[in-house]
Amino acid sequence: MMTKLMNILKWPLVLVTFFLLYFPIIIIAILSVNESQSAHIFTGFTFKWYEEIITNSSLRTAIFNTFLIAIISTAISTVIGTAVAIGINANSKKESTKVLMLSNIPIVNPDIVTGLSLMIVFSFVRLKFGFPSMLIAHIFFSVPFVILSVLPKLRSLDKDIFYGAVDLGCTPMQAVFKVILPAIKTGIITGALIAFTMSIDDFVISYFTTGSGFSNFSIWLYSRLGRRTFSPAAYAYNTLIIIGTFTTIMIMNLKSYRKERKRN
């Protein structure tokens, strides 16, 4: 009975899923080439909103800030996260569960709780709201993702590899840089990629920890919703990002496909 039910429901379910996930993105793409500024009517095809990404100075600054924060926070949190993961891996089971539980808190916590907590701490210690506070916030929520992707690689590594290197005359520092880091490279890269995407996409935590007019793309967008200053250039920017990610994925896919064919 169950298999029958599954067979009947299969395609409707796939269709509903595709619709739910992709309908908004298709609408955004259509609106990005819509001549009219109002979103309820399609008056003609245009690329002027794509031009406006560059000419609209407030949008340009917001996009610049988004990438600035994402690049710096990814770099810092990748270093911190990798170091902490190595530390966790070297510690006793009890200690490492404790640290892991703490580091999971920002992942499990809804954004609004994380954002509010940081905002309260920052205003308590009188940190300047704006670029520095937002950067610290982004590092705070990125580090756990780096830890989570580096740790499995470390766990599968032979624990004695570090001792071996030290016995053979490496300083502990050299052992980490020449032996451990190369072995966990893929985990570090995955972690950095996740951190970067989380940072680019973040709205809620940034919204609560920013100040003095510093805004990333999401905050720029939110402050203009339903106002005259809203520009469809936002749709254009998003469409470019989507096209960019899809092309990257396709190229990566094609490359691995070719590699496989060569091997066979």
């Binding site: 609106l31 070297a90 701490v121 995407t197 709205f203 939110y222 990002i241």
Partner: protein
Amino acid sequence: MDYLQRLSKPYKWIMYLLVGVPIIIMILLSFTSTLGVDFSGAEFSLDNLGRLNEPVYTQAIKNSLTLSSIATIICFLIGYPIAFMITKIRDKYKWLILVMVISPMWSNMLLRIIAWEQLFKPNSLLNTIGISLDLLGTRSAIIIGMVSIYLPFMIFPIFTVLDKMDKSLIEASVDLGATKTQVFTKIIFPLSISGVASGVMMTFLPSATAFALPERLGGGRILLIGNVIENLFKRVYNYNLGSLLSIVIILIIFGAMRIINRQEGGLII
């Protein structure tokens, strides 16, 4: 090994501070009346606790719990079969389909909410094909938005668990005479509960605490607890009542986690 062990120590203390201190401050703020987080001249007061009973707040908490529960159930009903189907795809295409499921998340979340908002208006692009949804400001609008945005968070953890599952268990049960339905209800589903649990957490918690989504799709008529808190902190600057409501959210999180963990244990046994 001592050298490596030290690497996680500072992080541990910073996390204790960044997680613990705000909760302590929030509890202090909840029972005082202050200006922002300035505690000079703070007075003890239970006013906020009384205001928690006001219909605005009770309704917001109720809305949050019901709407996000419905959205989570729908996500599960769609997400589980989809995750199951993906595990059946040949390895070469599996990866591609997974990317298809995750890639909408690279599109800005706010913008996707706006896209739904535009479609739910009585006058929308859909008029050109003769449809007018006119859903803005309804519960259905919020639920559709939530499902659309959080569905990948349900599919992914369930897929991970199903894909890693030991296939020999299924073969063994078939050999021992289990029907397909029995294989599913007695082997596959119980083994995938941990994935379901994290999927439920990852859809329920963010949807229950969202504020941009209900603000745009609820048309200002339906408030969730996130809207109330955002309003208190960012617009009215009432940190005291805001903190109390945040504590309520944190309690809801703990409650949800406990229920899910208990369910998990119960279902496995």
